[in-house]
């Protein structure tokens, strides 16, 4: 809004009560108040409370005992001894990298489906389908898919004469098995982002590329992908967040097992703080803080990208 029009508005509004004169300055705060207060109460302040709780030994009911950084020292030893914390952290890293496969996979499916044949809209919706289903159901579906006695996977590899594999019972395979299950809905999400992006690709540039003799991969790499940048950014954001939030699938499919080999930080934290392992709230909070700090790097990057864009916009 330009300065002059602001003054016009003041002139029109002026003369009334104090509220009327300052309307434009006050209104946004009135509109923000409920949302902001609610958000601070339930989301922002708990973050700081968690930092605080992580300095205590606390079972959630009795007195909390201040122990300084001892929870973090314990985590450090669990890391050095390649204990549960180390395994969880390692699995988180695996999740982060492998989950990103959803982006190229989504792009491939989007390219495959970006045609105009009869019924293609229904195909697109059905390919998107896995994303709409709850992760709990996805977890159940894949647990049965992997089942060593009757699972579809083993039935199929049985046709080519390969013996049954118990994906979820094998310490070396279990994390990859769960990630594959997670990639299913995530790929669907990336696909829909890219389908929307492909819709908006500038046809003139594609034609110009064709005239220059660009085809196939070259065209994709030099002409199409640069234009899909906004879609790629969002796909990247949601995939990273999704990878670090992985909890539902692990909880449903393996409960962290076998022998804790499929734990990630999000699940380990829950296990420590709220399950039969006892209610070690302080220790759980310390794990959550570590997870939060990892996430914070990405959040800072996302915000920084958004900030650059905002500055460019106005």
């Amino acid at each position: 809004m330009s300065e002059s029009s602001l003054q016009d508005v003041r002139a029109v509004n002026g003369g009334g009560s104090w509220f009327r004169r300052n309307q434009i300055a006050i209104t946004p705060w009135l509109f923000l108040a409920p949302g902001v207060l609610f958000f601070i109460f339930y989301v922002i302040s708990p973050i700081f409370q968690s930092f605080n709780v992580s300095l205590y030994e606390w079972d959630g009911l009795g007195e909390a005992e201040y122990i300084g950084l001892r929870n973090y020292q314990d985590l450090y030893w669990e890391f050095v001894d390649r204990d549960a914390f180390f395994v969880s952290l390692k699995n988180n890293v695996i999740w982060l990298f492998l989950y990103l496969l959803a982006i190229p996979a989504g792009l491939m499916i989007a390219l495959f489906l970006n045609q105009n044949v009869w019924g293609i809209r229904l195909y697109k919706s059905l390919f998107f389908f896995p994303f709409v289903i709850s992760q709990v159901v996805v977890g159940l579906v894949f647990t049965w898919f992997y089942d060593p006695t009757f699972g579809l996977l083993n039935t199929i590899i049985g046709w080519v004469g390969l013996g049954p594999v118990n994906v979820l019972g094998d310490e070396r395979l279990v994390t990859y098995g769960i990630i594959a299950a997670g990639l299913w809905p995530q790929t669907a999400y990336c696909m829909i982002l890219y389908l929307t992006g492909l819709n908006a690709v500038d046809p003139e540039q594609v034609e110009a590329g064709r005239l220059d003799g660009a085809k196939g991969w070259k065209m994709l790499w030099h002409v199409i992908i640069p234009q899909l940048k906004p879609a790629t950014f969002i796909a990247f954001v949601v995939t990273i967040i999704g990878a670090l939030r992985s909890f539902d699938l692990i909880s449903i499919m393996t409960q962290g097992g076998p022998f804790g080999s499929s734990r990630v930080l999000a699940f380990y934290m829950f296990e420590v703080a709220l399950s039969e392992y006892g209610f070690r709230m302080g220790y759980g909070a310390a794990i959550a803080v570590v997870l939060f700090l990892i996430m914070l790097c990405f959040i800072a990057y996302f915000l920084w990208s958004m900030w650059k864009e905002e500055k460019g916009a106005r």
């Binding site: 809004m1 508005v9 029109v12 309307q23 434009i24 209104t27 946004p28 509109f31 923000l32 949302g35 902001v36 609610f38 958000f39 109460f41 339930y42 989301v43 922002i44 708990p46 973050i47 409370q49 709780v53 390219l111 970006n114 045609q115 059905l126 998107f128 389908f129 896995p130 289903i133 709850s134 709990v136 159901v137 159940l140 579906v141 579809l152 039935t155 299913w184 829909i192 929307t196 992006g197 492909l198 690709v201 002409v223 199409i224 906004p230 879609a231 939030r245 909890f247 449903i252 999000a266 934290m269 829950f270 703080a273 794990i287 959550a288 997870l291 939060f292 996430m295 959040i299 915000l303």
Partner: protein
């Protein structure tokens, strides 16, 4: 259009593409189709090892009937509705206000407040878990739907504000200026000028939040227990414990639990996708 439209290619390519499509779809949805097949099989098929053959009898009605009549499933479904619907209303209402404030007005803290919402929305749930559970216990709302709803509203306000603010930013600003020159009060501008223009955003957000909340599992486990307040995502695990190894019933139960968001998606597809892909195109 990229890739090259299939109509402009040879006949064989076209035929190949059209046969490949259904095959690819079948492979993509295979794990789900397997569960759908399971859910109409009789119990006997599992004991005789007929996992993948033709169902010996069609027991779909019996299986689904059992899910609805002989288990806590209807309870859980109802709980899910009572958790999801108020959350959608609350989050959309709060965020249309915050989105309006952040999208229309220029003031120094604007971008900071906006970034607070965005950052909070990306935070891992675990960092909130201990304090939020404690808070809910202190307010006497542990194991109630209200406790879950209040938290969900607050948390979803983050994402919804991001969405609403960006949507309102894209509205034609001269409209608001014109209303101001006419001397229309600010809250009336919100109600009579901006809100009617926000209908597509309201619809998109509602379906999205409905799906997110319906599918939430983590908070359901942290803040509730037992059939009196647990939503269906958490209920399905106790359902499965009750019918352990009864795969036909567990499959039917899973399908029932997954269905409402699926219906929502197919009914409101346009809005749903518009919501998910906001920002994917510049």
């Amino acid at each position: 259009m990229f890739p090259r439209p299939i109509e402009s290619t040879g006949r064989t390519t076209q035929a190949a593409y059209k046969t490949l499509l259904p095959i690819a779809l079948l492979m993509w949805l295979a794990p789900l189709l397997a569960v759908a097949v399971f859910s109409i099989k009789p119990d006997a098929d599992f004991t005789t090892g007929n996992y993948w053959g033709i169902p010996s009898t069609f027991e779909g009605l019996a299986n689904y009937g059992k899910v609805f009549l002989e288990s806590d499933m209807p309870r859980y479904l109802l709980n899910s509705v009572f958790i999801t619907v108020p959350t959608v209303i609350g989050a959309v209402a709060l965020s249309s206000m915050t989105g309006f404030a952040l999208g229309i007005y220029k003031f120094r803290a604007n971008l900071w407040i906006f970034f607070m919402f965005v950052a909070g929305n990306f935070v891992p749930f675990q960092i909130l878990m201990v304090p939020v559970r404690d808070l809910t216990l202190d307010m006497g709302l542990y194991n109630t739907k209200t406790g879950l709803v209040l938290f969900h509203i607050a948390f979803q306000t983050g994402f919804c504000t991001l969405f609403m603010r960006n949507f309102i930013r894209a509205l034609p600003f001269p409209l608001i200026e014109a209303a101001r020159v006419e001397g229309v009060a600010e809250w009336r501008i919100f109600w009579f000028v901006v809100l009617p223009l926000m209908k597509p955003a309201l619809a998109a957000l509602s379906v999205l939040i409905f799906t997110f909340i319906w599918n939430d599992y983590f908070w359901a486990v942290v803040l509730t227990q037992g059939p009196e307040s647990q939503p269906v995502t958490a209920g399905i695990t106790s359902f499965n414990a009750q019918y352990r190894a009864a795969y036909h019933l567990m499959s039917a139960g899973s399908i029932v639990a997954a269905l409402p968001p699926v219906l929502m998606f197919f009914l409101m597809q346009r809005h749903f996708i518009a919501g998910l892909t906001l920002g994917a195109v510049k």
